[in-house]
Subunit: 206 residues, 2 copies
Amino acid sequence: MIRVLLVHDVRILRCALAALVGAEPDMEAEAASWKDAVRPVRGRAADVCVVDADMAGRTSLDELARFADHPGTAGHPPRPHRLLALVSQDCPGALRRALDAGASGFVCKDALPEQLVRGIRRVADGERFVDNALAQTLLRASEVPLSQRELTVLSAAAEGAPVPEIARRLGLSTGTVRNYMSAITRKTGARNRVDAIRISQGAGWL
Amino acid sequence: MIRVLLVHDVRILRCALAALVGAEPDMEAEAASWKDAVRPVRGRAADVCVVDADMAGRTSLDELARFADHPGTAGHPPRPHRLLALVSQDCPGALRRALDAGASGFVCKDALPEQLVRGIRRVADGERFVDNALAQTLLRASEVPLSQRELTVLSAAAEGAPVPEIARRLGLSTGTVRNYMSAITRKTGARNRVDAIRISQGAGWL
């Protein structure tokens, strides 16, 4: 029996995914929010964690990955669960985050249920699984157009912070922040700051 | 038997929702993308269409609603299907769009599956159904903070269009567009244009 944990922040959707997976004769499914999934509930053990990578921040994915590697404590055996990420074809940034977090499986969100179930079985067997539909996305995931510093500046801008505030937060001059913003706009092929945020959020870089 | 059509743009999620609903003994479930759902496929008939309102533009919802009221043609009886919208608590704009499109049911996305199933049964019986968890959202849905003109200007800005382009598109002077942007920023309580877009998208006004 493969124990599967479905992680998604929208309850009705994670319950629906659990219904889908739990209908397989060789799978037992449970659903959890991101917050609950990264909480060290020792009683819960999953073989495969299926996560919606588009909705996951880098921190949550890393926490979940670290948790998956947990060596266990006295009376609580290690939980060797593996990550399978659901990714949109047009969201290379999300695929990248899942890759960095050590996910073993990648299934396209536009796949049929059979593909997800196949991916779960392969990952549970200790293999890697990459949905063919994600080949192009995988290629694009290797080319993050922005540096870590640029991403930090752009994230702050996307939250609505004005340039002086971004400068203060990051200990930079306002001129430097403006230079970063120009570089970001150029590198993303955007028309302006709003466009750069839109493009980067769409691709999942932010 | 209640025939239910689950409409969501992410295939794996709409199939999962269909698995959930189809497991009920008195329901038959099918899944469709927005594009397919609004296409006049005469052969397909649903009693209740469940839609993810957060993901639906006003146009799609209106099309689906119009389609639901279709009087039918020779040999093709009318399809009196009713709309049930899945809505996030913090997205009053989406609830508003669903209300305007004539949805009969509103279920919170954070609800348990039983609540969705209950809502479908009530709506199929010709009743209205509003999830208690959406009471506050419903109140906020009546107070759209921006005028239709302001929403049009802000949508264009959110697509990355610079002020001169927005002015040209809408036949306004750049000064007028700037005035609209200031009014929008003030009314949404935003710190600047980017913040106004972020707030409006979050609430589902855009």
